[in-house]
């Protein structure tokens, strides 16, 4: 039998954990968008030296697990004098991971803008910066929105490993409660429900946007 009294009792714990998950997730995602944009622009404009660093960063970020990144930051870095709170570690880790994914999304958007757009911006007297801001970037961003939303879902899912650096997120709460009360079914069901509440809306928005982008364009 499902123990509703138990569910009612632990619900506030899950709510608090969900808020933490979402909050850290949003912070990390915002940061990763900034990192991604900067990296994509560096690659697109082929800025020497910086470009190499960005390429290395993207490879490292995409080919290491978030959990390992977090362990290194949380347990390893203090040994050389860099002590970070679990929250900072979580957000920084998510941004480090997400930055490369966002950079790829931005870059494919930038690549999809035809060269003639840049040239006609130049021929209208715009400089590089103006051409980027007013002509290329707006088009690039709108084509990368589906990839963007997919990344957001991916990153929100990745926050589930935050429990490993003792952040009291949804996973932490569920595991804790399973250990404490042996109410496995209820604890796991709540875990699934809460993740669905966070992820389903983004996923639905993603599906709708993708259809709109595919079938229409500007001014539709």
């Amino acid at each position: 039998m499902v123990d509703f009294a138990y569910i009612e009792r632990v619900l506030p714990l899950y709510e608090r954990a969900a808020v933490l998950t979402v909050q850290l997730g949003i912070e990390g995602i915002l940061l990763s968008i900034v990192i991604g944009l900067v990296c994509a622009l560096i690659l697109y404009e082929k800025i020497p030296v910086l470009r190499r660093f960005v390429m290395i960063y993207i490879e490292v970020s995409r080919n290491t697990p978030l959990l390992v990144q977090l362990f290194f930051m949380y347990y390893g870095l203090p040994k050389i004098g860099i002590v970070l709170t679990p929250e900072v570690c979580g957000v920084a880790g998510l941004a480090f991971l997400g930055g490369s994914y966002m950079a790829e999304a931005f870059r494919s958007g930038l690549d999809s803008v035809e060269n003639i757009q840049r040239e006609s911006a130049y021929s209208l007297g715009m400089n590089r910066m103006q051409a980027m801001c007013y002509v290329i970037l707006p088009q690039a961003v709108s084509t990368s929105i589906p990839a963007f939303l997919a990344n957001i879902i991916f990153l929100l899912k990745e926050t589930s490993v935050f429990s490993a650096i003792s952040l009291m997120d949804l996973m932490f709460t569920a595991k804790d409660l399973i250990g404490l009360y042996y109410k496995t079914t209820e604890s796991l069901a709540l875990l699934v429900v809460f993740y669905l509440m966070i992820l389903l809306p983004v996923s639905i928005v993603g599906a709708v946007v993708e259809r709109r982008v595919r079938y229409a364009g500007f001014g539709a």
Binding site: E59, T64, F71, F72, M171, T185, L188
Partner: protein, 224 residues
Amino acid sequence: MPDLGLEVLMKGNNLLRLFDGLWIAVEISLLSIVISIPLGILLGILMTRKNRLVRFLTKFYLEFIRIMPQLVLLFLVFFGTTRSMGWNLPGETAAVIVFVMWGTAEMGDLVRSALLSIPGHQYESGKALGLSRRQTYFYIILPQTLRRLIPVSINLITRMIKTTSLILMIGVVEVLKVGQQIIEANRMVSPNAAFGVFLVIFILYFVICWSVSMTARYLERKWS
């Protein structure tokens, strides 16, 4: 020069133990992908069926697997089965089950879109040659889709290897756990071991995943 805690790794067979831990991760990924490929092909074929119920169920399965964090799936299988079925699954088995579920879903979706992208006249010409439905799939359709699947399945392997880091959380002794054990055992003699050990694990993961994804990229370019 600050103590970076690297000397611990030179002690005894510590480095070797880390490699062993990582090998478990690779093994689990490889085993899972090998099981996922045939199951994924089956799922992909099911997903192209006209039957609405079949389509709904397969789609539901795919979306559920996709939207849930892998760690949640691991918890569901690891803790859930103990409770509801009374099994006491070892963490490794739970991990393989979850990775197969995940791999089958991803592979199934890839197979589905690959199948749909094969023009209808390929099916018709199979029929015209007097092949049965199964023969058409086996001799004509699948060989065309398989080649496209290889780079993406290699990609899936990297994602799985990265995800194996999570099985620490269901008690499997893998590279991170071995790392923690080494750090614990040497707490007195080298207090800074955490830096060196986790740095090395970071690099090990990178080397493995990076070389696998380079292979995938190479194959993609070669076969596209």
